[in-house]
Every structure is written in structure tokens, then in C-alpha cells.
Subunit: 380 residues, 2 copies
């Protein structure tokens, strides 16, 4: 049994994702497709536009056989840590090959990862906005050319994670087509738009998006979630929490908590999340880094919880097809760590606690219970 | 210099309050009038309809000479503790006589307080809904008649506090007129309505209330605050806070935190504060007791903070008239504890911290800064 893996966020699932899956299927008609997917808070530090169950169902209806959650301890991290959480999950479920989009599918990412394996990053002044640039320069030097496109960089993170965990996973970059990662608007022609453009259409422009998503999918009448929905809670949390408590939150370093609280206090009542963030932003703290910190504060994700997850991870099964059951049966025999299917009253205070909190906060907006007693989705 | 004291909430200030002040002035034309007033969260566990500055200004314009804040450590407590906070403040500012409304102004409250001084309440099962009833029965036995009206009971609490602190304050009950304490509707005739009826008119019925408030007062165009405005924050706090942390909050005992969180979790997204509270209510936890707990959780008022205040209180000056300055000048020489006028960056993390948090939470609704750098109001 060949098992293909994908690391995804599906925010939301669209024709570009379907295209990728069809390519996998074309190359591997018999293979199983396992996806490690972020839950309700994503790697760029924002809430998913639709909850993890909606996104799981759409994936299962469009060729994915098993969906596993990347816990927030892994999703609300830099690309390297996010990749590690994804790879670690996929390897334990027997994935043989990882498919991922890349701007340069001809690159040998594993080779690059090996070349920069001993790159000493300690000489770089950490966290500076030029930090990424300096790393990139050093990487370029080692591998002989620039590596700057976002999906290429993510590919490198996957390769580094594969090396780190000695995962027996072959990397299969596939050429990205059409939509650019961050295109803000729907394209003039074609049926593939970026997730960013689709979200923009759903939230702001009201342009129809049916053309850009699989025919068996509709996002009409679903509650959408954005940072603006969660911002009142974050603001309340910031103004009522002791600074010493904030310091315990994942990503909170170098006194950034002072700036976060200062502007939560000082800006007018009507201030939006975006305005607050622009005020807080500085050379040392980029937009995405801050949104990840904001997400972590919102759900009270502590540094100790991230460390505990990295030491002893766990899995959460979100859904599977009847075909995918075989992957699960095989994996079950070899799993090193706990796999959660349902979350019980006991589990919610256990290792899954911060993910449970995340679901509760998310459901303040949607009203849809996220974890307690929810069984994995099963699609024929 | 004769100094008269009143303990009040002015939620909001109306003709009944004015009537009381005019009576004081009639009996004591030369006296100073000092009011100890709850801040933005009141003794019945609810937010003040208007912030403490609005209420201070109205009081100063209608005969009050000095307004001092009863900190939340004192205001969010049972009648006895609330009375203690008020009396302790007033005695330190040289108050000679306490005026208060009573359903039976002929009662000798100090005598009653002396008679029940050694009442052993330990035999009563604490917190049971019949607890108050049992205490009342025992009190009736000691003093020879029933004492059940709300203002009479509060009068008894004042008297007990006077005894406890050996305060040299004479109690002057004045007969309550017209409006009953909890009348929900504006009266058919007259110019005195209950605060409850006025709030009801302001929030719900849109009936004009100008007739029931002093002529120099308008409540038009002011941001009103109710529990429904604060409920989203409380709900977020309940679902994201560890149960062991909730146990540290003032008033949280006997596992009530479990019920609070359970219903915050389980009830539908649209659930109002009132609906949640009705669900949580039980024989052992009355409505008002629960709203005080809810308020305490909202602002993270810890048991240790209440204890610290009771051990070492402090004063916060909210406003004064030019005449009232004399009271302050005299008091300053004899104050045992810190008097805050402005709240500085340092003070906000000090003894005043939980009151500062209260102001920040309240201003999430109003947008009006409550404490930092706000000087006491001065009225000519």
C-alpha cells in the first residue's frame, strides 16, 4: 500500500487544491492520500475562514482519504516548526511520499536541506526583520542560488523536517500553476484562484466564487470567521492579563507583551485588529509573527504546552473515507503516541487541552461545537 | 465642621437621591456632604449604567461635596462587607453622621446591631438559600420584631460596621418615600421613580425620564452599560480559564466554577447573560450572589486581593466641590491609608490594580478611559 501525504490548511479548499490531488491520483492511481491539516488556527496566525470539520469534509469529498489535525502547538509556529509537526504526523501514519507545490519543482530540496544542515544561524541577530534575509543569503551561498519563493521555502522546511526525524518520506515537489500564493483578486480567466483571493471575495467583494471551487462544494450559508470576530476577546484578554502571565505565552519574547497591551489599552474603542497590529508592528516583529503571537494569547497557548507537544506529540483524526480506513488500521499497530478520535470530558483537560480551548473560542463566533464528543467524519 | 456621609451607588442619580440630599441640607445647612460611591461595578454584581465619572459629576452638581470611590474589593461583596467598605472610608474622612434611607426610620439600628453582636451564625448551614431566612429569624428573635425590608437590612449592616470599626458616626435613618426599591416601572404620578424603573426606561421602554431626574441632569447621548455588553467577555473568560484559576476568584466556592463553565460551554452561541444565569442559579447560589461572582471573574478579582484590601484599604477621590476641599484638607492630615487622586503607570499595577482592570473592561463598552491620568472632578 502506497501512502501519499500532503500538508495543508485548505483555507478554503479550492480548485488549486483539487488540481494537486488529481495530479497525485494520476501518478498513483492506487495510492492512499493522507493530509495533515491545521485546525481552526492557521500557520499565518489567523483563524480558518471555515472550521476544521467543514474543511475536512470538503477534502474527503475531493480525493483525500484521511485527514489528521495539526494541533495548534504545531500550526501556530514558524514554517520550520509547522513542517516538523506535519511531517512527524505523516511519517507515523506510514506516508511514503510528500507532495507539495513549489515555484521551482526542479529543485532538489532534500539536497538543499543536507547542504544547510550545519548552517550556523547563531551568528545572526535573532528575530530582526533582516534575520530571514540573512538566513536566505547564507542558504543561497550554500546551495548556489537564491531560494525566496514562499512555497519553495516551505519545501525546504519539509526537507529539513524529513532529515531531522529521519523520515522515510520521498519529497515530490509539483509545479505550482496559475494563481500566485498571495494574489488578492480573482483572476480574469481560468478556474484557479488563490485562497487569498477567494477569502477576499467571500469576506468583502461578494463576487461569486463557485467557479473556483470543486462542483461538489458550496460555501454559501456557512459562518465565516476572521480576526475581526475574535479581536474583542483578544483585546479583553490583553487588558485583563498580568504581564507576567503573558510572558508565558508561546512566542512572547523581548517584552513584546508591553507593546501588545499598551496599544490594546490606548487605541480608541472602535480600533480594528488590523489597526492595532499595524501599531504594534516593528522591525523586529513582522506581521505574521505578531498574528501568531496574537493567536497564541487568544487561546492561552503556553510555551510549556508547545514544549510538551514537541516532546510527546499526539494525533487527532478528523475524518476518513472507507478506503482510508486501511491506512488507519495499519498505522494503529505502529503509532508511538496517543491518537484522539473523540474528545471526552477527560481529554479536554489533558494533552489536547489547548486545542479544545481553541475550538471553544472559535465556536464563540460560529456556535458550532468543535471537539467534545465529535466523532471523525466518515465518507463512503 | 460637621460632615455628613452617605453610602450610595447612584445607578443612576435621580430625584429620590436629590430629595435625600435636600433633607440633609435642610437639617444641616452648614454641613459638608461626603458620599462613598461604588465605582463601575456595583454591589448587586452589575455594571453601573453610567460610569463613575458621570455619576460623580451629577452628584457634585446636586449638593454632594466630596465623592470617594468604594473599590471593587468592597463593592462586589455582601451587604455587610459593602457597608464595612463604605463606613471605613467615611469614618476616615471625618464623617459625623450617616444618613440613609430606611423603610422604618423609627428603628434604632445601632441598638439592633448591639443586640445581635454575639449572634452565633455558625450553626446555620452556610450559603443555603434559606441561610438569609434563618439569620433573619434569629435577628427577629433578638430584636423583638421582623427586619426584612431591603433598606432596613442595609441600615443594620451600616450599624454593624459602625460597631466593628468603633466609628464615631451617628446613624440617621430617613424615611423612604414613594418609590419602592425595586419598582420595575415608572410611577403614574409624582417625580420620584426607583433607579430600577429609570434603568428599565433607559434600556428598554424608551419612556422619557427627564421628570424623574434633577433639572441639571441629562442622560441623553451617554453610552449605557449592561451585563449583556460584558457577557461575551465573561463567556470567553470562562471557557478559556483553568478551573484552578477560577477557584482563586472572590466568591468562587463549593465548585460553583464547574456550573459556570459548563453552561458557558454548552448553551447556544446566542445565549444571553440572563439565560445563562437562570441556568446556573440554584438553591445555594442566589441571583445576586452569582452576578457578584460573575463580575469578579470578569475582572479577575482574586480572593487574595479582597483580603489585601480588607487588611489595608485605600481611598480614591473621584471629585469634590470648592466647598468640599476643606473636608479633604482636614482628612489628609489624619488618613491612615493611601489616597489615590490620579492613577499613574505605577499605581495601575499596585494596590489599585483590580480597579484599574475594572475600568479597562468597562471602557471596552464605553470607549472612555476610566483611570489612567484622570484627575478628580472639581466643581465650583
Amino acid at each position: 500500500m502506497k501512502v501519499i501525504g500532503i500538508i495543508a490548511e485548505y483555507n478554503p479548499f479550492h480548485n488549486g487544491h483539487l488540481h494537486q490531488i488529481l495530479q497525485v491520483k494520476q501518478n498513483n492511481p492506487e495510492a492512499m492520500l493522507v493530509v495533515a491539516m491545521s485546525g481552526n488556527l492557521l500557520q499565518r496566525g489567523e483563524p480558518a475562514i471555515f472550521d476544521k470539520w467543514v474543511r475536512t469534509e470538503v477534502a474527503l469529498k475531493n480525493g483525500v482519504d484521511v485527514v489528521l489535525e495539526i494541533p495548534v502547538e504545531g500550526s501556530l509556529q514558524s514554517a520550520d516548526k509547522f513542517a516538523e509537526a506535519g511531517i512527524r504526523t505523516l511519517m507515523d501514519f506510514g506516508v511514503d511520499e510528500l507532495y507539495f507545490g513549489a515555484e521551482h519543482s526542479e529543485y532538489d530540496f532534500l539536497d538543499y536541506a543536507q547542504k544547510i544542515r550545519n548552517l550556523d544561524t547563531s551568528k545572526f541577530k535573532e528575530y530582526d526583520s533582516s534575520f530571514a534575509k540573512q538566513i536566505q543569503n547564507a542558504v543561497s551561498e550554500k546551495i548556489g542560488h537564491d531560494l525566496t519563493n514562499p512555497n519553495d521555502l516551505l519545501g525546504l522546511s519539509y526537507a529539513k523536517a524529513v532529515l531531522k526525524f529521519k523520515a522515510k518520506i520521498k519529497l515530490v515537489p509539483i509545479q505550482r500553476i496559475n494563481a500566485e500564493y498571495h494574489d488578492a483578486f480573482l483572476p480574469d480567466k481560468g478556474e484557479i484562484a488563490s485562497a487569498t483571493a477567494i477569502r477576499h471575495a467571500l469576506f468583502q467583494s461578494d463576487e461569486p466564487i463557485a467557479k473556483y471551487v470543486p462542483q461538489n462544494v458550496t460555501y454559501d450559508n456557512l459562518q465565516k470567521v476572521s480576526w475581526e470576530d475574535l479581536w474583542p476577546y483578544l483585546r479583553y484578554k490583553l487588558i485583563t492579563t498580568d504581564l507576567n502571565e503573558l510572558k508565558k505565552i508561546s512566542g512572547v519574547v523581548e517584552g513584546i507583551e508591553n507593546r501588545l497591551v499598551k496599544y490594546a489599552n490606548e487605541l480608541p474603542k472602535e480600533t480594528t485588529f488590523e489597526t492595532w497590529l499595524q501599531k504594534v508592528k516593528s522591525k523586529r516583529f513582522t506581521y505574521t509573527r505578531l498574528t501568531r503571537i496574537a493567536s497564541s494569547i487568544l487561546i492561552d497557548l503556553k510555551k510549556t504546552e508547545v514544549q510538551a507537544y514537541e516532546k510527546v506529540p499526539f494525533y487527532r483524526l478528523l475524518g476518513f473515507t472507507s478506503k482510508g480506513r486501511k491506512v488507519l488500521n495499519t498505522a494503529k499497530k505502529q503509532l508511538n503516541y496517543t491518537m484522539y478520535t473523540k474528545i471526552s470530558q477527560d481529554d479536554k483537560d489533558g494533552k489536547y487541552a489547548v486545542n479544545y480551548r481553541t475550538g471553544k473560542v472559535y465556536s464563540l463566533v460560529t456556535g458550532v461545537q468543535q471537539d467534545l464528543k465529535r466523532a471523525p467524519l466518515m465518507i463512503k
